[in-house]
Amino acid sequence: MRLLTRAYDTVLYAMASVAAAMLIWLMVSIVISVLMRNAGFQPYAWLFTSSEYAVLYLTMLGAPWLVREKGHVHIELVTATLPAAMQRLVSRGVALACVGVSLILAWKGLELVLTNIARNDYDVRAYYFPRWMLTISFPICFSLMAVEFARFVFGKELLHSGQAGVHE
C-alpha cells in the first residue's frame, strides 16, 4: 500500500512537472517562431500548433496537483457563518460532490477517447492530429482529481479552512 501511494505521488508530481515544462515551452516556441520569421525563414507550423495544444495538456496534467495544493479558488462567504461542526460536514460533502463530478467526467472522457479511436477522428489545424491524443488527457486528469478530492473527504485535512472565511 505504501509503495502504491509512493508510486501514485510520483505520477502526480511528474505530471505537474510536465505541465511546468509546457509553460516554458510556450515561451520558447513563440520566441523561436518569431525569430525565424524575422530572419526570413519559414517558421515550422508545429511551433504554433504545439503551443495551442500545450494549453490543454498543461491544464489537464497540472489540475490534480493543484487540488492537492488547494489552489482551485473557492468562496467561503456563506459557509463561514455556519457553526464549526456543520462547516466540517459541508466541507467533506463538497469534496465528495467534487469526487462525483470528477468521476463522471473521467468516465465520459474515457468514452470519448474510445469513440475518437473508433471513428478515427482528427483535430484539423495546420496538421491532421489524432483527436484521441488530446482527449486522453480528460480521463487521466479527472480520475486523478477524483482521488485528490477523495483525500479531503476521508483524510485528516479539510478542503476548506473553516477559519471564518480567512483562507478562502
Binding site: L58, I75, L77, L105
Partner: protein
C-alpha cells in the same frame, strides 16, 4: 422549458454550488453536467461538454496569460521588482499611495501594449501585490487599481476584443479603436482621483515614508540603475509590437525572455528563483484555465438553452425612450457579464443590440464603446469576473474573495461614471475618430 426557467435553473445551480464553497471550476463543471443532461439530451450531452471544453482550451488567445504571469513572478523572485520599488520609495516616499499611482500609470502604459485584460492583470498582480503587501498597503489599495487598469487593456488600443466587436457589428474598426483612447485616459484619471480620495479618507491604507534628502545626482543614479532597466524591458516589448516584430499575442513571450536576460545581467537569476517563478505562474494559470474550461461551456449552455437570448429579447421588447433603452441594454450586458464569457456575449447581443441602437438613432461607434465598457466591467463583476479569480491567485494566501470584491467596487464605479460622462458628452468618444 421557458427561457426564465432555464436561466433560473442554470444560474441557481451555479450560485448554490459556489455558496457551498465548491471550487469555482468544479461548480461550473457540475452545473454544466446538469445543464448538458437537460438541454443536450442526457448522457451524450456530457461528451459534447468535454468536446466544447477541448475547443475553448486549445486556443492561442490563452497563451499570453501564463507568460505575463511568468514575467511578473520572475521580477518578484529575482528581486528585480524589489529593487525598482525600493528606488521608487526613496524617490517618492512622501507621497501617500505612490505605488497605487504607479500601478495606474504603469498599468495604463502597459494597456497600450497589451490587448489582454487577463494578461495585464496577471502581470501587474504578480508584480505589484506582493511588493505592496510587504510595504504595508491595505488590500484594496493594491488589488483595486490593478483590477481597474486590467480592464483598460480592452478599451485602449490595441484590443482584440474591440476588433472583434467592430467586425461583428460591421462598424469601422479603426474608428472604434481610436474612440477608446480619450475615454480610456479619462478612466485612468478617474482611478487616480479615486486613489487620492481613498488615501485622504484612510491615510494608513497606503503608508508614507520619511525620505531623507538626496542630491539630484544620487536620484538620477538610482533611476538609471534600478528603474530604467526594468521599465526598459516593458518599453522594448511595446516597441517590438508597434514595429511589427511580433504580434500582441506574442509580446508576452518576449517580455518574459527580457526579464530573464535582465535578471542574468543583474546576477540574480538563481535556479531557485526560476523554479519558484514557474511554480507561481503555473498555479495561477491552472486555476484560471480550468475555470475557462468550465465557464466557456457554461456560456454556451446559457445560449443553447435559449436562456440568454430569451432574456435579451424580453428586455428589449418594451417600447421605451432611447435613453431608457440604452440603460436596459447596458443592464442586460451587466447581468450576462456576471456569468458569461465576453466573446459569447458579443456574439449573442450584437445582432440584436446594434440594429436596435441604429433604430434609436445612436452613433454605432459611440454605442460600440459603451458596449466595450460593459464588457470591461464584466471582467470584474462578482461573482464570476475572471479577473477577480486571477487576482485571487496572485494575491497573498490570506487574501479573501470578500476583500477582492470590495476592492473592485469603487473601480467599477469609475467605469459607470465614465458611461454617464459618455452619455452626457458623446464627443469624448467621437471627437478623435471624427
Amino acid at each position: 422549458m421557458d427561457w426564465y426557467e432555464a436561466l433560473g435553473l442554470l444560474l441557481g445551480s451555479i450560485m448554490f454550488l459556489m455558496a457551498l464553497g465548491m471550487p469555482v471550476a468544479l461548480a461550473f463543471l457540475a452545473a454544466n453536467i446538469l445543464g448538458a443532461w437537460i438541454f443536450m439530451g442526457g448522457e451524450r450531452g456530457i461528451s459534447q461538454l468535454l468536446n466544447n471544453g477541448l475547443g475553448s482550451l486549445t486556443s492561442f488567445a490563452l497563451v499570453p496569460i501564463p507568460l505575463f504571469l511568468l514575467m511578473g513572478e520572475i521580477f518578484f523572485y529575482t528581486g528585480l521588482g524589489e529593487r525598482m520599488f525600493n528606488a521608487i520609495d526613496r524617490l517618492l516616499g512622501k507621497l501617500p499611495g505612490r505605488l497605487s499611482y504607479v500601478t495606474v500609470i504603469g498599468g495604463t502604459g502597459f494597456s497600450t501594449l497589451s490587448g489582454s485584460s487577463m494578461g495585464s492583470t496577471a502581470l501587474l498582480g504578480s508584480l505589484m501585490v506582493p511588493e505592496m503587501n510587504k510595504r504595508g498597503y491595505k488590500k484594496h489599495m493594491s488589488i483595486g487599481p490593478i483590477l481597474g487598469t486590467g480592464g483598460l487593456a480592452i478599451i485602449i488600443p490595441p484590443s482584440a476584443l474591440a476588433v472583434l466587436l467592430a467586425t461583428l457589428a460591421q462598424i469601422d474598426v479603426g474608428a472604434l479603436l481610436i474612440a477608446g483612447i480619450i475615454p480610456g485616459l479619462i478612466l485612468a484619471c478617474l482611478y487616480i482621483g479615486l486613489i487620492y480620495v481613498q488615501t485622504k479618507i484612510d491615510p494608513d491604507a497606503a503608508p508614507a515614508y520619511e525620505v531623507s534628502p538626496m542630491p539630484i545626482s544620487a536620484k538620477l543614479m538610482l533611476v538609471l540603475r534600478d528603474v530604467v532597466p526594468m521599465m526598459g524591458v516593458m518599453v522594448l516589448t511595446v516597441i517590438g509590437m508597434i514595429s511589427g516584430f511580433f504580434t500582441p499575442s506574442e509580446a508576452a513571450a518576449f517580455g518574459a525572455l527580457g526579464v530573464l536576460i535582465l535578471a542574468a545581467v543583474f546576477r540574480c537569476l538563481t535556479v531557485e528563483a526560476i523554479k519558484n517563478s514557474v511554480i507561481g505562474a503555473l498555479k495561477v494559470t491552472l486555476m484560471a484555465y480550468l475555470i475557462v474550461f468550465g465557464s466557456a461551456t457554461f456560456s454556451q449552455l446559457l445560449a443553447f438553452s435559449g436562456a440568454s437570448s430569451g432574456l435579451i429579447h424580453w428586455a428589449t421588447s418594451f417600447d421605451l425612450a432611447p435613453i431608457s433603452m440604452l440603460l436596459v441594454m447596458f443592464g442586460v450586458l451587466l447581468i450576462l457579464g456576471m456569468f458569461m464569457e465576453q466573446i459569447s456575449m458579443m456574439l449573442l447581443t450584437v445582432p440584436i443590440f446594434f440594429p436596435l441602437a441604429a433604430s434609436l438613432g445612436f452613433d454605432p461607434v459611440w454605442f460600440g464603446l459603451i458596449m466595450l465598457l460593459a464588457l470591461e466591467i464584466s471582467f470584474t463583476t462578482p461573482p464570476f469576473g475572471l479577473l477577480l479569480f486571477v487576482m485571487k491567485g496572485v494575491s497573498p494566501p490570506e487574501t479573501t474573495m470578500r476583500e477582492i470584491y470590495t476592492a473592485a467596487f469603487p473601480f467599477i464605479g469609475c467605469s459607470l461614471l465614465l458611461v454617464v460622462l459618455l452619455i452626457l458628452f458623446p464627443q469624448l468618444a467621437l471627437w478623435l475618430p471624427g
